[in-house]
């Protein structure tokens, strides 16, 4: 009588499964997502992940304008690393056009992609500390990210809504002093990253809350279509930059860190190392980047220089046609993937031979990852949902489009 098990006590107490709504409007459910929970005490008995609260109809909107007018929309996909989306979309259209961009442009696109990846991972790491009560590492991560946002602003003119790439090139070349500015960012980053690591990596509370929590095994991760840090944390060596090298990634040396358990802690470690690898890539870009134009010399694709537009009829017509009728993309379809902050960001574009996209489909990495969230949280504690949800770094703009 005195030694009743917890289950027996529960039976006496007539407990029942409690249904709870997490989100969609809740500070921890960043990106506006709802999880419908069935709680058995503090254990998650079942969960129904409900997405769609940030749907804007990106893919349908893309069909309404010219090919170039899609670029600003791509900023709003993964808004933590918008430059990678810019690079991905333009790459897809260029693939359909059969267009080879300039060498310098390739290096610049790699540079901005890696800068964006650093921002993306800093956000995910900072937030994962914040979710388990550690506010200081979050502030440090944001401080480091802020330095990079100044750099991005210097390059593109905007912090988030970058719209930096163009079909066939870039809005403009990197500004003067970009190397010095980057080096300043890197110094701040490395010092802050060391501090963050000191506070988190061997922190008892952080490890207890994250290790063996939200586990996603390699087989299941592949079955769900995981990519990016979440897949690599499970021990699968897959990175778009290595598997299908684009731009100049095949000429650059970098390692792909992988975990072995696929838990929250592994995902943290993978992101941390990827930041250091991104820095390694950027150092090589700065070393190797050639001089030369960033835009291809083809007025059917790239807007002519403004002096030619205003002073010559040839430039005026080319400008008019590209703006009003759009770049003429031959009929066909193309899929072009880049390694985004969360994994494989794929753009599937279809042309019926006009100046406007017939179809633009985005393969957002966290759409596949979010499908696995139920398996990662069911059977665990309700308090573990938040760190697990954070560790997959869901981005509402990307998943809902």
């Amino acid at each position: 009588m005195a030694n009743k098990t917890a289950v027996e006590v529960g039976r006496d107490l007539h407990t029942e499964v409690l249904q709870v709504n997490m989100g969609p409007s809740h500070p921890a459910m960043h990106g506006t997502v709802r999880i419908h929970l069935w709680l058995d005490g503090e254990t998650v008995a079942d969960a129904d992940v409900d997405i769609g609260y940030l749907h804007r109809g990106f893919e349908k909107m893309a069909e309404a304008g010219t090919w170039s007018k899609v670029i600003p929309y791509t900023d709003r996909l993964n808004y933590v690393s918008p430059l990678i989306n810019n690079v991905g979309y333009c790459g897809a259209v260029e693939k359909l056009l059969g267009l080879e961009i300039t060498e310098r442009c390739k290096y610049v696109r790699v540079f901005v992609s890696e800068v964006s990846r650093i921002c993306d991972h800093l956000t995910a790491i900072g937030a994962s500390a914040l979710e388990v009560g550690a506010f200081t590492p979050f502030l440090w991560a944001m401080q480091a990210r802020e330095e990079f946002y100044f750099l991005i602003e210097m390059i593109t003119g905007a912090r988030v809504t970058t719209s930096y790439t163009r079909i066939g090139g870039l809005r403009w070349d990197l500004p003067e002093g970009w190397v010095e500015r980057y080096e300043h960012c890197e110094r701040r980053l490395m010092s802050l990253l060391d501090d963050i690591e000191t506070l988190l990596t061997r922190n008892r509370i952080f490890i207890d809350r994250n290790a063996d929590v939200g586990v996603m095994k390699a087989d299941d991760a592949i079955a769900w279509g995981f990519t990016g840090p979440c897949l690599r944390a499970a021990g699968v060596d897959y990175d778009v930059r290595k598997a299908q090298p684009y731009l100049v990634y095949d000429r650059l040396e970098f390692d792909v860190p992988i975990g072995h358990k696929g838990d929250n802690y592994d995902r943290y470690l993978v992101r941390l190392e990827e930041i250091r690898q991104s820095v390694r890539i950027i150092r090589q870009v700065i070393r190797d980047i050639p001089e030369g134009p960033v835009n291809v010399n083809d007025w059917r694709v790239v807007l002519p220089p403004k002096d030619q537009v205003y002073d010559t009829i040839e430039g005026m017509i080319a400008h008019f046609e590209i703006i009003m009728k759009g770049v003429q993309v031959p009929p066909g379809e193309a899929y072009y993937a880049v390694e985004g902050g969360n994994g494989e960001v794929g753009f599937y574009v279809v042309s019926d031979g006009g100046g406007r996209p017939y179809r633009v489909h985005v393969r957002p990495p966290c759409f596949a990852i979010m499908q696995g969230l139920r398996d990662m949280i069911v059977g665990g504690m309700v308090a573990d949902i938040i760190p697990t949800f954070d560790s997959i770094n869901m981005i509402g703009g990307e998943i809902d489009r």
Binding site: D298, W299, R300, P304, Q308, Y310, D311, T312, I313, E314, G315, M316, I317, A318, F320, E321, M324, K325, Q328
Partner: protein, 521 residues
């Protein structure tokens, strides 16, 4: 029959076919400026040069005829180089006018430069200046700097309008188009010169600076200005007609339309009536419909029809009125006859006199002229059309009728005195069919939404019929057309009327209607 290959695709054509025509038939694009299928060949722009195995030099495909065994290449390196060179020369003195040019957006020069040249300018000198904004006539303005001297406009005046009013003046790169001293470009087809102009050199004064072309929404329809019934495209923006341009139709108007027809839409821009009236005051539509039904039942009735009614309108009017008041007498008015020429313009200035008479004949109605109206002594008089309501014979008859009901798009004096006045659609708001003087049945389509209380006559008569206990066989214009049991189009639906209309005079075989029915179903 020569058989030739164009870019590797084989085609057999009639002797005398130009290479460009054979290529058009195959769908192989050849750029051109001076060639126009409705005009004679000038071969002066050199844009359509192609390479053939029959000549060591490139040949103009708009001029050279197809030969047996000919192999034509339209995209060889030599041809591409020639296209770039031609465009570079044409653009040499071209002004940077696109932002202020009405043609921008539908300009052959823009499109062909972008597709075939796309090179920067190599011309670092001052451009020639020529006359700009030169008023050539009442409807056309000329900009010589934009002109590429293709002479399409000259040929339109010479060959289509048969009024040789335009010529090239000066020589070499100073050449431009002009009228003779002291004369004007004022023939009835002068705006066709702006249609055929591949660039923005000739623009119509009517459309000048009115609307950018990419905002326009085009509706294929029929001109209502005379009984030719030219196929036209009505371009609208924000619910207003901006311009009317001809649409290619080999059995009605070829590529052309007269100035009067294009400008006819201005007639409906002022003095529109948009509310239902009763004795000079606005009244609810339902009350007026009941009043119309009662007036029809009171009888005796006389109806003044207009050839501006669509076939569907005419059918609904005749069917309802005859069902309610079987002894009704029908009169046909319309706009009075006007000028006629050998080109397009017909003396009968009404679009649907043939269609109206077909509907009346099918209904067994003998229509009378307006002169017989004086002795008619009807208690109820129905008047359709603003021109009929302004006719003094009709006004006289209205004076002796107990109840007059007017159906008009425009505000006419009789409307204020009539017992009821219904605002009706203009030809740009109508949706139905017209039959032209040569028995070609064509679809009139709604280009702009009718304002206010404006309705189609068939709809008003449908409602009035139902108030009087009479139902029509259909409750829509398309259904009324199919149900009209007019021998000339019995068994056909709107879906059977093609892009170019139906020639009712041509005998149809039985299979044709059945096949098109299957498609429509």
């Amino acid at each position: 029959m020569p058989t030739l290959k164009i870019d590797g695709r084989e085609v057999t054509v009639e002797p005398g076919t130009r290479i460009i025509e054979a290529a058009d038939r195959l769908g192989v694009p050849i750029p051109r400026f001076c060639y126009h299928p409705g005009l004679s060949v000038a071969a002066n722009c050199r844009m359509c040069l192609v390479e053939t195995n029959k000549s060591p030099k490139l040949v103009p495909s708009c001029y050279d005829m197809c030969q047996d065994g000919m192999e034509v290449s339209t995209r060889s390196d030599k041809v591409r180089a020639a296209q770039k060179a031609v465009l570079e020369f044409i653009l040499l003195h071209h002004p940077v006018d696109c932002p202020i040019c009405d043609q921008a957006g539908e300009c052959d020069l823009q499109d062909q430069y972008f597709q075939y040249d796309y090179q920067p300018s190599r011309f670092g000198f001052r451009k020639h200046h020529k006359p700009k904004a030169r008023v050539l006539g009442p409807h056309v303005i000329y900009d010589a700097e934009r002109c590429i001297n293709c002479t399409r406009c000259v040929r339109v005046c010479d060959e289509v309008a048969r009024a040789p009013q335009l010529r090239q003046v000066h020589r070499g790169e100073r050449t431009y188009i002009d009228v003779f001293p002291g004369r004007e470009l004022d023939h009835p087809y002068s705006m066709c010169t702006a249609d055929v102009c591949p660039v923005g050199a000739l623009t119509t004064r009517d459309f000048r600076f009115k609307c950018r072309v990419w905002f326009l929404h085009g509706t294929p329809s029929v001109c209502a200005e005379c009984s030719r019934g030219c196929s036209v495209r009505v371009d609208t923006y924000r619910g207003k007609v901006q311009r009317v341009v001809p649409r290619h139709n080999p059995q009605v108007n070829q590529y052309w339309a007269c100035d009067a027809g294009r400008l006819a839409y201005h007639r409906f821009e002022a003095d529109r009536v948009v509310a239902v009236m009763a004795g000079g005051r606005t009244v609810a539509y339902g009350d007026a419909v009941r009043g119309l039904a009662e007036a029809l039942q009171a009888g005796p009735v006389a109806v003044v029809l207009t050839p501006f009614l669509t076939c569907e309108d005419a059918f609904a009017v005749v069917r309802v009125v005859k069902a309610v008041a079987p002894d009704t007498r029908f009169f046909v008015g319309g706009r009075p006859d006007g000028d006629q020429d050998e080109v397009l313009i017909r003396a009968d200035k009404n679009p649907n006199r043939r269609g109206l008479s077909m509907v009346l004949a099918a209904a067994g109605v003998g229509a009378e002229g307006l002169d017989s109206l004086a002795g008619c002594r009807a208690a109820t008089l129905l008047v359709f059309g603003d021109h009929n309501a302004a006719d003094e014979r009709v006004v006289g008859a209205a004076g002796s009728a107990a109840t007059t009901v007017v159906f008009s798009a425009l505000d006419v004096p009789l409307l204020g005195r009539a017992a009821f006045g219904f605002p009706t659609v203009t030809p740009y708001e109508a949706d139905g069919t017209f039959v032209n003087e040569f028995d070609v049945l064509q679809r009139v389509r709604r280009a702009v939404e009718p304002p206010g209380e404006v309705r189609e006559p068939w709809r008003i008569l449908l409602d009035a019929g139902e108030a009087a206990g009479v139902t029509l066989p259909a409750r829509g214009a398309a259904g009324l057309f199919a149900a009209a049991s007019v021998p000339q189009w019995v068994g056909l639906t709107w879906a059977d009327i093609g892009e170019f209309g139906l020639d009712l005079a041509r005998p149809r075989d039985a299979g044709e209607a059945t096949a098109s029915k299957a498609n429509a179903g």
